[in-house]
Symmetry: C2
Subunit: 217 residues, 2 copies
DNA sequence: TAATTATTGTGAATGAATTCACATTAATTT
DNA sequence: AAATTAATGTGAATTCATTCACAATAATTA
């Protein structure tokens, strides 16, 4: 039985678990049986202490003097992240971003299966997009329930996002990945994450602009 | 003249500047002249103190008793983030993700102009994608220099990413947004940011899986 | 124009995340 | 089988980020 988690795990730790998971996939492919926190940290530009601390929140998976067993640790992290199962995902809004994500291999590889697509554009509704028929967003609520969708990827224009989001919440969905550049309101028990690729570019532009930071005052 | 920044600004603060920037665009559209830290925080689910502290790293833009002037603060944040200019961007790898991002409106709106597209697929090279001819990745290095590209968006498969990244660095590019799910090695003076949309989904799957965290040990 | 109200800007206090440092323990070598 | 080496797991120390709390000050009201 998976041990329950007692402390609040920080977002950074959760994020790094995904990074470890990817590193371990690579290590497994390269034929490693074990990996030390030192080596794992080096590969991912972290510190060994951080790797060990992160993992220690969930148990002790390593062997002193040797390191962590690659296959086993990967499997344990998959369990922790909930990747040892399939997730039914729906995508709402089949524009540029949405349509690209439908065929993003990395999703399916981790068990995120895009089951339904919704749009409000009559020209798109009924058409087949990468093997999935695009449904009318007007029928979204009932279809999300019927198909037991647990995660929704929201890729509608900013102006429509809150209204659509409300419907998703009413359908009982508890996890939403929002690509619209607006701050959405959801109840406390709904997990909302915002993704905005322009913001990452802005971070780069900040770094380039403020490159030589100088002490003076 | 823009004041130089004296302390190291945290990534979270930089990220929130982008959030404030978007909020201010909305407020301007809605006709607000001024906004208090209290109201801005409420809209973005932050605390008023955090808003004020973040802004205070860069100067004092507000008026006591009144708040911040919307138009002016937006303009100041644009300057800080380096959004008061155009950036020449190239995209390397025109697969699913790459081709979607080319027409992602939010980029152009913030001044990130995609000037060049590269791929190694002979069927794609020479073809016109949303008004831009896809070039042979073999010519990338010289073309990045000639076109004064300062930011590269890297959307090639993981297996090719490090090799392509090395070439980008050799071309003198100092900012890379990497979508490949691998940890890339770059020199210290190159800004590398990793974006991985599957990781966000994994965060959601973690939250759903570990929903009722229980204290016990 | 004095009193009141609203809100900033910021040191100080608190809280959270990271790193240190070392006792512990398993593997390997001699 | 003892000695040595390597690496974990984790409290304690440190560093970093957030929040508190209030003096300062501008706007508004009386």
């Amino acid at each position: 039985m998976a041990r329950r988690i007692s402390r609040k795990i920080s977002n950074s730790t959760i994020h790094r678990l995904s990074i470890y998971y990817r590193a371990l996939m690579g290590l497994e492919r390269e034929g490693y049986d074990t990996i030390s926190s030192k080596e794992l940290a080096k590969r991912e530009k972290l510190t060994p202490a951080q790797v060990r601390k992160d993992l220690s929140f969930f148990g002790s998976f390593g062997t002193r003097g040797l390191g962590y067993p690659v296959k086993e640790l990967k499997q344990r992290i998959a369990e922790i992240l909930g990747l040892n199962r399939l997730w039914n995902v729906a995508m709402v809004g089949v524009g540029n971003v949405g349509s690209a994500l439908v065929s993003y291999k990395e999703f399916a590889r981790q068990g995120f299966i895009i089951k339904l697509l919704f749009d409000n554009d009559q020209r798109k509704i009924g058409s087949n997009h990468k093997g999935i028929i695009i449904s009318d967003i007007a029928n979204m609520k009932s279809q999300l329930k019927e198909n037991e969708i647990t995660i929704v990827i929201l890729t509608v224009p900013a102006s429509a996002a809150q209204k659509v989001c409300d419907d998703i919440v009413e359908a009982g969905v508890k996890a939403i990945l929002n690509f619209a550049p607006v701050s959405l309101k959801v109840p406390d028990d709904v997990n909302l994450l915002n993704e905005n690729m322009a913001i990452e570019l802005e971070h780069l532009s900040f770094s380039l602009t403020n490159r030589n930071m100088v002490m003076f005052d």
